[in-house]
Amino acid sequence: MLVLVILFTFLLEHMVPGGPAVVALGNRANARTIYIYNKTHGLLAPILVQFFNYLKHVLTFHLGTSIVYHAPVWTLIRSALSHTIVLVTVALVLQFILAIPLGALQAQRRNTRFDYIATGITFVLYAIPVFLIGEFMVTLFAIQLHWLPGLVSQTAGPWAVFTSPLQFIMPIFTLTFLGIGGLSRFQRSSMVEVLAQDYIRTARAKGLSEKLVMRRHAFRNAVLPIITIIGLSLPALVGGALITEYIFDIPGMGSLTLQAANTQDMPVVVGTTIAATAFTIVGSILADLLYAVADPRIRTQSR
């Protein structure tokens, strides 16, 4: 799958007027330097040969050199990637911690006032773009109330989320709110479906307490489909992380990409896209494995 993504960026680079040389050297490169670059980088070879070279380079983390930083793109990405991974993972976990009980509770008290209010809130959350949530929090808590710092310290390492959590409260919650709307709605409908099943009626009929029915029988079955959503929600989350990092100045992949975009640093932009995609693909595969762990039916099948 990743190979096809790499093929896509390869084709994109060749579609740019001037080809990959212009991508690597920048828009102001003249014909002579372009020719020299083409010659030294094997870009006069047949296109298929070029693609395999490109593939080999990307897969061995040779993503080119940044025009602006004069450093290998992979070095830049490596230091940025850890920030994004930590941010996305923490937000993902929080999303599930908040959205699943909310959706389950809504289903349990279906068509009560609580359900309607929660539905209204999640619907608004679903429509509000992530950057508005972030900006709103910054304006309220950092600028007006001075409760929280508005930006994240540049010297903080990726683990600063845990060592100095105060400055990460707003970015994490910005990213968390992004998915809560969709997730809790999904959990609600999944739980509603489960509650209509025969085995729930059986569980009730044999006199189990309502709490036990909900926890043992309904909740466990309703949570399973949500796990498949992890993989599907990852791209949106990584995209949201880009904007969150921009708002709070977190030195992750998003900030790197945007800085590069504003300085026309094309090798970095292409490199971060490949890395972000690789990250989401790996995440989706992990989610699939998690599903196998969580669902006893799949576990016993594989034995």
Binding site: F131, L132, E135
Partner: protein
């Protein structure tokens, strides 16, 4: 709502054609369920309001939107229009932005770009996705698995990164942004339409066309796709909402429609820069517009889905 131009939807299955004529066309049925859904009707009104506001508004409420500083050098009641709050005078009801542009006028031209780009790219994404899904679903076998693998990849690439790559590689304009948004967001609709095609292709009317010697192309584009119109309308509504959000995001990170044109996201980005200095009110108008339009589209999409599902139940 009598529909004579696309009668291909009603006679699905043939036998219940009588019922449909009795009850009016399918669209009348959808419209009836839509009308009963009060949030959806309000949403429709909101959306139509924004359409009129953005496309007709600039002709009724004429403002200078090309030369900000000339407008900005003016003062009204002794306050420069550059840092002009809401409701300060009837000249600029929502005040002016940092360049002295009247915010209402700015919202109008911003809305024009946002809605044009949103609707066009939503349409592109729906139609490309539908064609892709229908071809994959109908042809099946190895072509299907190849085409759906492409969809899997498309769904796993964070769209905004692709957008940035393309905006950086090819310079940013409403055309590139529309095309890119449309061509990077059709994967979801391809998957849905493929699913529907799989169930449609085993129906009698498809076999009938095949027996009559209809080509694959004819079957897919004349018979299968028209039967997925309900799904396509629903997908399209959500696709427009998503495109408007994506464009706003792009504008917010500073890669939106270049000046002197603008869009709601770019307006936000512009306003956000001055928020720490106390000009927070500049953020609100564009933010409210984005949220209202996106929410109204989402509600309408939900209502349309309900409507078309009712149609399926009646069948």
């Amino acid at each position: 709502m009598a529909d004579t131009t696309t009668p291909s939807v009603a006679p699905i299955g043939g036998s219940d054609a009588g019922e449909t004529t009795q009850e009016g066309s399918v669209y009348a049925l959808v419209w009836r369920t839509f009308r009963e859904n009060r949030p959806a009707v309000i949403s429709l009104c909101v959306f139509v309001f924004f359409l009129i506001f953005s496309y007709v508004g600039p002709y009724l409420y004429v403002t200078n939107q090309t030369n900000g500083f000339i407008a900005g050098s003016a003062t009204i009641n002794g306050v420069s229009t550059v840092d002009y709050p809401w409701f300060h005078s009837w000249h600029m009801i929502l005040g002016g932005d940092n360049s002295g542009f009247d915010i209402i006028g700015r919202l109008m031209i911003g809305g024009r770009t946002a809605l044009t780009v949103g609707i066009l790219s939503g349409l592109i994404s729906t139609f490309v996705g539908a064609a892709w899904g229908a071809i994959a679903g109908y042809r099946g076998k190895s072509l299907d698995s190849l085409m759906m693998r492409v969809v899997d990849i498309g769904l796993s690439v964070p769209g905004i990164f692709l957008l940035i790559v393309i905006v950086v590689l090819f310079h940013s304009s409403s055309t590139t942004i529309t095309l890119t948004l449309g061509l990077t967001s059709w994967f979801g609709s391809a998957r849905l339409i493929r699913g529907e095609t799989l169930s449609l292709k085993s129906r009698e009317f498809v076999s009938a066309v095949r027996v009559l010697g209809g080509t694959d192309r004819r079957i897919i584009f004349r018979h299968i796709l028209p039967n997925t119109v309900g799904t396509m309308v629903v997908i399209g509504t959500f696709a427009v909402a998503d495109s408007i959000l994506a464009l706003a995001g792009l504008g917010f990170i500073g890669l939106g429609i270049p000046l002197p044109n603008t869009d709601w996201g770019s307006m936000l980005q512009n306003a956000v820069q001055y928020a720490p200095d106390g000009y927070w009110w500049d953020i609100v108008p564009a933010a409210v517009c984005i949220i209202l339009v996106v929410m109204s589209l989402n509600y309408m999409g939900d209502a349309l889905r309900d409507g078309f599902e009712v149609r399926l139940q009646k069948r």
